[in-house]
């Protein structure tokens, strides 16, 4: 789980000294995206279509969601051309 960090850029009127607000949107999730590393062809469709932009590149070989903020909408699993992502019920996992 990656924590929110300060950004380098500061807009003309925004104050970059305060940390940004950030909700634990990962708690909203009832289903969790699980990536099959071998089937992932690294096309990046899950990453560009993810509304929260939480799909991260791992070792330039596959994508993995940041489960701290993933809302579990399932767009990545739907848009994956190789069906490498499956939505598993959150109850199957231990926290």
């Amino acid at each position: 789980m990656s924590s929110n960090k300060l950004f380098k850029h500061e807009g003309p009127w925004s104050d970059a000294n305060d940390p940004l607000m950030c909700s634990d949107t990962g708690d909203w999730r009832s289903k969790r995206p699980v990536v099959d590393k071998d089937r992932c062809i690294f096309c990046g469709f899950c990453a560009i279509y993810c509304p929260i932009q939480v799909m991260e590149m791992v070792e330039n070989s596959y994508f993995s969601p940041d489960l701290g903020f993933c809302k579990g909408c399932g767009i990545c699993a739907k848009e994956c051309p190789k069906d490498a992502i499956s939505m598993m019920p959150e109850g199957d996992f231990e926290k």
């Binding site: 990656s2 607000m21 949107t25 990962g26 560009i48 939480v54 701290g68 809302k71 399932g74």
Partner: protein
């Protein structure tokens, strides 16, 4: 192996040159089209844009809550009646002060098509140098799913419910993007979230056209909560809207309309409506009315694009 894999990456990645200025967990519904759009815009245009916006679904995130902010962009919150007028003031200030900046007026369809249409039309007529982006979720979603000018025929909303006396909205939707193209502004376009490469190209074109004057982009962004769409189907809805010609993709430079994506064999509009709950009650006759409306709009657009190519726009005195 890794290098081979890397070569297949989608082209959209090349357009995402800038950092995502938003914090990771923001208060949008799961599967929200608006969230994808608002994160996409600064990643393509750069983080030095100034966004002006109105009370809408985007406002709780863009405006911030209490004393803190959800993002690192500059945001200017205005009223729905004066969105384009306020952006005009900002754009004129930056021009006068000699600051290179992009003002993005980011509004919903309620502001663009209904409440703030007057000064949107005025700003387009005066050719003010900013980008106006309308995210079209076909209703006033933030205040509880009321109908707006872009709500299509037959859609149920809380003000046009389905029941014994009402069968959803009984009027046609307005074609906002075509109206704006008819202002002969430097750039007007429609885009949707299923074709992000197209959207990125149009955003960059709008940024270029902003130097010559007003740029308008109409983005079709489904609302899973308001429309009764499963969150995972947000992108699929956009895709089907394009494939059925319900929302054709085109751009118009100085009023010259050009289709950016032509669908060879358009599917019947029922393939689009069947995955959306707000159209569930439509029978064959209602679907035919919607289909006729879609065909009519597309026919007009096709006709205009042919006519505009043949006819010459009168050259103004400045040129």
């Amino acid at each position: 192996m890794i290098e081979k894999k890397k070569g297949k990456m989608t082209k959209v990645m090349d357009y995402l040159k800038h950092e995502d200025p938003f914090s990771k967990g923001v208060a949008f519904c799961p599967g929200c089209g608006l969230e994808l759009l608002i994160r996409f815009i600064p990643q393509v245009l750069g983080n030095d844009i100034v966004i002006t916006g109105t009370p809408s679904c985007s406002a709780p995130v863009l405006l911030g809550q209490n004393s803190q902010s959800w993002h690192k962009l500059s945001y200017f919150g205005t009223l729905m009646t004066g969105a384009a007028a306020n952006a005009t003031g900002l754009a004129r200030y930056y021009r006068k002060a000699g600051i290179e900046n992009t003002v993005v007026c980011f509004n919903g369809d309620g502001t663009a098509a209904d409440i703030g249409f007057g000064n949107l039309s005025g700003a387009a007529e005066r050719n003010e140098p900013f980008i106006y982006i309308c995210y079209d979720n076909e209703g006033y979603m933030n205040t509880g799913i009321q109908k707006s000018g872009t709500t299509p025929f037959g859609a149920t909303t809380t003000t046009t419910p389905f029941g014994s006396a009402s069968k959803g909205k009984n009027l046609r939707r307005m074609n906002l993007a075509l109206k704006m193209a008819m202002h002969k502004i430097p750039y007007a376009a429609t885009a949707t979230l299923s074709d992000l490469e197209d959207l990125a190209k149009k955003l960059l074109k709008a940024k270029e056209a902003k130097k010559r004057g007003f740029a308008f982009i109409h983005v079709f962004a489904p609302c899973p909560t308001g429309w009764g769409v499963a969150p995972e189907n947000t992108i699929e809805v956009c895709r089907r809207a394009v494939k059925t010609n319900y929302f054709p993709l085109w751009e118009a430079e100085n009023g010259k309309i050009k289709m950016t994506r032509t669908v060879r064999k358009p599917k019947p509009v029922s393939t689009y409506t069947k995955i959306i709950k707000k159209f569930n009650h439509l029978n064959e006759a209602d679907l035919q009315i919607l289909q006729d409306d879609v065909d009519y709009e597309y026919c007009i657009l096709g006709g205009l694009s042919v006519l505009e190519a043949e006819c010459q726009l009168p050259v103004s005195a400045e040129d």
